[in-house]
Amino acid sequence: MLEIQGLTRRFGQKKAVDGVSLQIPAGQMVGVIGRSGAGKSTLLRLLNRLAEPSEGRILFNGKDVTALRGRALRDWRTDCAMIFQQFNLVQRLDVLTNVLIGRLNHRHGMMAKIGSLLCHFSPEERAMALAALDRFDLLSTALQRSDTLSGGQQQRVAICRALMQQPRLLLADEPIASLDPRNARTVMDALTQVNRDGITVLVNLHHLDTAREYCDRVVAMQQGHVVFDGPPSELNSARITQIYGLTEAEFQAEAAAAVNARSEFEFPRQPALA
């Protein structure tokens, strides 16, 4: 169970996320929708602490993860894996090593850490990574550089990396916004498979139909607030117009344009050694 209590993030005067409270039981697949600047991405980055909350708390199975530091913070990040709109793979590394990066925080002890820095992983870890790649039909690409893959393949590699963390939660920030429809489908199907393994999935989407098709629950955000929270069947066109003052088609066109414009946008980063 993930509990978010009054979570707020300010950037200067602006509140990107404003008093969000949610309860997400284990194993749900939750779609988060909203217009550009609604705070969806910030919400996800707050959850795994790539961004620091200004107020509020995040509890996971009763444990407060808002104030974790150092090793405990890295363990929390390992528990809630994240995938990104632009995949965030290391372009010049091969696919296998990219997947093994998901294993870094499972390697404890001085020697293992030094081994990681030398790109030295155990045969078991490699077998695990190859099995993950095989599951998503990527086995043949294992030794290629990741920048030689298509967007859809890269996003599935990112999912493999996430699974290597053996997470209990998967955060997906606009995972299909940079993909064509066919690749978008393979990636959403992969996320569904991950969800069936019992991993809670939180996915930011701008396409309402995708949210309706794949998610058990939809959370709609507007200016940092949650303005709808319920089953996708309740989020019909009339409800969209009531919430956003736009028709569904307008909403989607605007969100798509904003997502593409955002690809160069950089989030403020937190300090390094936290």
Binding site: N48, L50, R74, D75, W76, R77, T78, A81, M82, F84, Q86, F87, N88, L89, V90, Q91, R92, L93, D94, T97, I101, G102, L104, N105, K113, S116, L117, L143, R145, A158, R161, A162, Q165, E266, R269, Q270, P271, A272, L273
Partner: protein
Amino acid sequence: MSEGISAQEAAFRDLRRQRRLSTLIGVLVLGACLLAAAWMSEFYPSTLVAGAPRIGEYFSRILPSLEWAKLLSDAETEGSLAFWLYRADAWLLLLFETAQMAAIATVMGASVALLLAFPAAKNLGAPNWVFQLTRRLLEATRTVPEIVFALIFVWAFGVGALAGILAIALHTTGALGKLFADAMENVELRPWDGVRASGGTWFEACRFAVLPAALPDLLSYAMLRFEINLRSASVIGFVGAGGIGEELYKVISFNYYEEISAIILLIILAVMLIDLTSERLRRRVIEAVA
């Protein structure tokens, strides 16, 4: 023409006039500074004009007197290549020693520079005091001329290549550390978020997200530094720090004119060789899996 258009045209002219004025002021200030600098450093045009022919004179003296017909004759015949480069075997050996000094110094300096560059790259967010400390340290090591370090090390470790290597390595750390850090500041940080979001440490993020992306640039800076260090290693021998420098110093001070040009030619050839190798190496690294 509407009023709006002419107002915009007037605004444009105003803006252009202001820009031209500030450019003019800038150029005048720069010119005044240059004149002052030239005057202070006694860079007088009259001296330049008077001395320029003598540069040519010196060059004509150090140029070998080669004769076309005897070009390929043996070392006993005056005017042949072999006569000009009669000590080529000894010089090549010395040059090889110099190149080795430069190579060891470059590897040592580049290794330390690599370690210091991660905390010295602003975007990687090392704690501020660590960032300041490494940046200042790099500045200090690259500001002191190699020859000064060499004198200190010759005093400490005695005459020989070791002093030269240490001196060049220290300077290399400072110079390369800054360039490395700047190259790292230019890498894209999305993979960084990827590694950090997987629970990776700061060191692991440096290793996996930054190093592969920066590697081609780091390598080409290091190879450029190797060229520069070959030259440094040649000159540093002047103070007794080993290599071909001692020989060059000797032939210059004894005015063995043709030998000066022979040694300089060999150094230039060596630098060209490094440049060609570095281009190939860089190609391979760009294409390779990092």
